[in-house]
Symmetry: C2
Subunit: 239 residues, 2 copies
């Protein structure tokens, strides 16, 4: 299996996703939030690029979620903190979600055969799903405003580790950036929280009072659930 | 000190180098070659972007060096293997050098206050020089055709390690990409050769018969010499 890790959305070229599985990773926080909301019983999440599009797609009974520059969008039900998307709030609902980087990443990946939402929370499950799909795989780190974000790289490294357990290194061809991310993950695997806290987004979120989000999002392999894109919405994969 | 590691030349924006020290890193092989040639007594190296420009600047007594796609340019005295640049061949000479990535990186860095040529061979010396210059520092990984190359990232990680020994982590602000490269270097520091051999360029060069170059270029901190740009040519820094 060929596996390519892409450093940020700006570097992603949609045409290179054809016939592949793409795992979109935005650890802080879009994909962590999508995973959490779906686990908590939300019916589906529709990722869109703009606030306008979110309002256009909104139907009665839906919820609106999203952020711009880490802040909730005025008039929306939720921001981008996974902790807001509780069972009580989301069960049975469809959520229209727009975030600065993560939902853009999903949009960009739409030409792929399969699009998964990956985070540290479900890295092992994403690796297993990618192996099942038997396609070359791209791990698309969302980054922040087209700049690489460390927490996404760590997650890419963890997914590569999990893939290597399933496939064996001999059966994987990984690009140089992926090899670097795997090394970086291995170096930090026992200090994931501290490493993420020292990153650019980690520092920003800690300063903004989102410590609990950091604790949640820095945990590895807490769920075997994988959000997958079906037509234009993310739903949980059926096992 | 702010330290930014840039993943490849395509991501470098010249204007961001103003008032800074830039360490250009092209481990395989331009900067390893520049270091080796200058240590072996070559008077100066003029890095240029094109073959045409190299021929234009050529004066009697000069030597021409360079490659396109790892191959020596027809009519040139040397390719891009540091092993060609022996004492006997280069002593007292000026060399006009054009390579696919490394010399482009130096050209791109010209707006900086100081431009150094860094490789694994002289990472500690580059760190020391950057500290002496008391400027914010950019480590510009040349990469390959605007794609990240693992060996350059490892070198950036080593330079960061050396900077942290000199400055202390508290006195360094490093971008996320740099933090990842440092982690990756630490994970691979005892297996630098093997890690580079497994990289994209490492495999390519091994296949093309350049094993000896890989052995030479994968050695860390073998010299305290630092090439620095003076006007349009690289010379050894005077201690």
């Amino acid at each position: 299996m060929h596996i390519e890790v892409v450093a940020n959305i700006g570097e992603a070229r949609s045409d290179e996703f054809l016939h592949k599985t793409v795992i979109v990773v935005d650890v802080l926080r879009a994909t962590s939030t999508i995973i959490t909301a779906l686990i908590n019983g939300c019916k589906a999440i529709v990722p869109v690029e703009t606030v306008l599009k979110a309002k256009e797609l909104f139907r009665e009974g839906d919820l609106l979620g999203g952020e711009r520059f880490c802040k909730k969008i005025p008039g929306f039900d939720f921001g981008n903190s996974p902790l807001e998307y509780t069972k009580a709030a989301v069960q049975g609902k469809r959520i229209i979600l727009t975030t600065t980087n993560g939902t853009r990443g999903i949009q960009k990946a739409m030409k792929a055969d399969h699009v998964l939402a990956g985070a540290l929370l479900n890295s092992r499950a994403c690796a297993r799903t990618a192996v099942d799909f038997k396609r070359d795989t791209v791990i698309l780190c969302a980054g922040t405003q087209d700049v690489f974000s460390l927490e996404d790289g760590l997650c890419a490294g963890l997914i590569l580790e999990e893939l290597s357990i399933l496939l064996g290194d001999k059966n994987m061809a990984v690009n140089d950036f992926g090899m670097a991310m795997r090394g970086c993950y291995l170096q930090s695997k026992d200090t994931l929280f501290e490493t993420i806290l020292a990153s650019s987004n980690g520092k920003k979120m800690n300063k903004s009072g989102f410590q609990a989000d950091l604790v949640l999002c820095a945990k590895a392999n807490t769920t075997d659930q994988v959000p997958i894109l079906e037509r234009d919405q993310m739903v949980l994969m059926q096992h």
